[in-house]
Amino acid sequence: MGRVWPFHGGVHPPENKLQSNQSGIVSMPVPQQLVLPLNQHIGAPAKCLLEVGTKVLKGQLIASAQGFVSANLHAPSSGTITVIDERTLPHPSALVGPCIVIDTDGQDQWIDHAGIDPLSVDQGELLQRIRSAGITGMGGAGFPSAVKLQAKTKINTLIINAAECEPYITADDRLIREYSEQIIAGVQIIRQLLDQPACIIGIEDNKTEAIAILSQALTGIDGIEVGVIPTKYPSGGEKQLIQILTGQQVPHGSIPADLGLVCHNVGTAKAIADAILLGQPLISRVTTVTGKAAAKAGNYQVLIGTQVSDLMAFAEVDLATTSRLVMGGPMMGFTLTDHQVSVIKSTNCILASSELELAPVADHHACIRCGQCEVVCPAELLPQQLFWFAKAEEFDKAQSHNLADCIECGACAWVCPSQIPLVQYYRFAKGRVKTLHAETQLAEHARLRFETREQRLIDEKLAKEEKRKARAVAAAAAQAAKRAANPDAEDPIAAALARVNQQKQASATCVTAEPPEDAYKALKTAAAITRTKLKKSSKALTDALASGHEQAESLQTTVDQLALKANAAKAALSAYETKLGLDPEHEKQLQLAAAQAGAVVRKLEKSLATAEDAAAIEAQIVIANTAHATANQALEAYQHKSTALQQQTQEP
């Protein structure tokens, strides 16, 4: 037995293991219905291969892994696929997901299968068999095992996790006691796959019987040792167990394989042995059913896909006294509000607790920063600071305090004297950080896309310009060639340029000549200006009179003068108009007549669209159009005449 290193923090909650570890594992009979979620593991969900109505045999592949990180799914018993639909998943979110429902036929008839001698095949074959057996980590996270066994780096130490540090759970304890031979066989297969690394089976010292049985079974076997570690939660966390057994910490952002380490659960080792030696895929597991509401607390060999309600009925759980139903342990498990969910490959415990068994729902008090959370945090964080940051939504600060390294073990919340649900705050903060990160990435993506588009448009424009220039150059060259071929001919471009220059000169002389003063316009303007001045002054005068201003008198004189001027300007204008034979009144009348005629035409055209007697209206339109044209002609004629008159008067 090698050295054991300490890890920071940890707590000692009441173990509560005796309720379930005193009796042997009981095989639960095949239930009437099995519900198999397609995603029981980390990674991509499996793809359903069969259709509703298909008869399946026990161990038959029903859904296949999609991609590298995924896992196959097999029928846990024989029967018929009756439904493939969305059901509530055994997940904290209680969301629904695709499930295959098998109505069992009670025959429990195996598909043809056979084991092999692992020593007779190569590593590739072994790995392929483990992969096709759909084995995932059975400790809780459910990571596809074959992926972890396909290490890219040299593995020096294989750690088998049998710590089972969560209170209440005894599935691994009983598994070791009853299947130590198979577990060791599985460990040997894993070692063969990883080129025979040293192996330590980490187990908490509260499982004395399991330790004794395991040590007994290991006599005479080299390379595998039992690492008995002090009982302290969460020693079974992968990172913590690695530190306890090797003294090393997995650096942030790395995986254990980077240190030459790999960690597998003891249940996974047994599943691997079954897959290789017996040819049986992962279709059942040992699950602890415990808690004060369970009359027959103990460990059960349960088919994957068994409904929690069926398992509870078999373990005689009293639903009336169950206050909280937890899947997993009391420290990290999640509550189920619906017992119509399935036992999946990673379900190690169903805890049916009575009302007073677990911590009651308490109002939490203020954080007094007592620091006890910091003392127990196995990730060596400052939970009290993270709490303040999460509460204040200061996510950047939370991240700089290594929020991402929180393993959500719950030790801080367990010990908190103010009973603050700390883990919930961290989950919230992690979720927000994730969302914000995704949003930032989206924004960044949009920005990039916009910039790329802008650049593309600029590039296109430039390319066009280039082409145009190239064409111009080519044309010039062609022209030059033509000229070279026929030098006597007049240069058409030079001729055109000469013409343009001539025209320019001509127009320039026109512009320079001062246009004759428009006497009529000047008169009109003068009349308007004097009128306005008069108006202003009159208003000023009335104001001044009203307020009794002393300058009212002088104003009065100004107004009188202005009135005279305005009258004079008006007279001059009308005299000029008479002289020209212009009559503004007459022009206005003509304009009015033209506009009215136009309006009549438009009105008629409108009514034409809806009218029944279209022909009559069309005739009217023709007449109206004629009238309109006549009015317009009269107006134009008058305007033409007046313009001509004005020009005549200007000429001299």
Binding site: P251, P330, L336, D363, I368, R369, A379, L382, Q385, E408
Partner: protein, 341 residues
């Protein structure tokens, strides 16, 4: 039964804030007894009065802030403030002095900042410092060791600040005060001319020893970690030792520094206040050491004989900064230089 839907963990320790506070209160009892033995009934009267005031002010402010009264008042934090103030104030404090101190501590220093957990300064120390500045005469009127007032006489003093019968010498300056205002005498000459100094020092030492015992009890119960008190005592001891070695006639010895005034009360009951001190272990070491250093400086060169209130308030101010620079390395960040701050 309807199934509860809660977030993990589903189990909880029996650890409660009120339990922590209760232990802190219990741990002050040895010091309280020692103080009463040497200086009479004054501290006890003070204590009861302070508790009544603290609970009343707490309830009143909670009501004004529209907060539930029972859960907050039962956390015991107001009582801890009351205890600390009563123990720190002179045994000859009149009723109004305690009232002002408690009012300022509970209402201003604690609730105006948002109540328990949100106050940047230690409430008891803010109350104490206010009184020290505003009423220096009353605050330095420490009981004499030969104080023979009975309970009735002490009670009379408490309300009227006179004692019928006119007993003389019931109050005197504290040893620290004497040692500071030496009137040009060396410490040796002072001890020779003033026989009360020796007696005062021994009383002070006993009281400090009692607080030390209570504090060690809390440490054993893991109510707080050793970092802040040990750092404080070490830095105070180190400064005192160095200066005493240099000029023993001018600077009191390490023992006199550690076992006089409010040294142990502060080290185990005030510096350890989690709300207002630094967070991480390294931070607590810096916080404690800073308090020790400031205490030595103020005791030696400042205008006040003892300096805990000011030293602690100053370090309270520095706590957020200390926190920023003492963030511990998380698991897996050992080799990470960025995180080393």
């Amino acid at each position: 039964m309807a199934l509860l839907n809660l977030s993990s963990p589903h189990h909880h320790s029996l650890n409660r804030t009120s339990r922590l506070m209760m232990w802190v209160l219990l741990a002050t009892v040895p010091g309280l007894l020692a103080q009463s033995y040497w200086f009479g009934y004054g501290t006890v009267i003070n204590l009861i009065w302070a508790c009544v005031l603290a609970l009343s002010f707490e309830a009143l402010v909670l009501r004004l802030r529209k907060r539930p009264i029972t859960p907050f008042i039962s956390d015991g934090s107001a009582l801890v403030t009351a205890f600390l103030l009563a123990l720190a104030l002179p045994p000859f404090s009149p009723w109004w002095l305690t009232l002002v101190a408690v009012l300022f501590a509970i209402v201003f220093a604690k609730h105006l900042y948002g109540g328990l957990g949100n106050n940047p300064f230690n409430p008891a120390m803010v109350g104490y410092a206010l009184c020290l500045i505003a009423f220096p005469v009353s605050m330095t009127q420490w009981a004499g060791t030969e104080n023979t007032l009975n309970l009735a006489q002490q009670w009379q003093w408490f309300w009227t600040e006179t004692v019928s019968g006119g007993i003389d010498g019931y109050t005197q300056a504290t040893p620290l005060d004497l040692m500071r205002h030496t009137k040009g005498l060396t410490l040796g000459e002072l001890a020779a001319t003033n026989p009360l100094l020796g007696l005062g020092l021994s009383a002070s030492a006993w009281i400090n020893a009692a607080y030390l015992a209570g504090g060690l009890g809390l440490l054993a119960l893991r109510i707080f970690t050793w970092h802040a008190p040990v750092a404080m005592l070490a830095s105070l001891g180190l400064c005192a030792g160095l200066f005493h070695m240099g000029e023993p006639d001018l600077y009191p010895s390490v023992g006199q520094h550690l076992f006089s005034g409010a040294t142990m009360l502060a080290a185990f009951f005030i510096v350890t206040d989690p709300v207002t001190s630094a967070t991480s272990r390294k931070g607590k070491l810096i916080f404690g050491a800073g308090v020790g250093l400031l205490v030595f400086i103020i005791r030696s060169y400042g205008a006040y004989p003892d300096a805990f209130a000011f030293a602690i308030i100053l370090m309270n101010l520095a706590a957020p900064l200390i926190d920023t620079y003492t963030q511990p390395k998380a698991y897996g960040h050992q080799g990470n230089k960025d995180n080393e701050r």
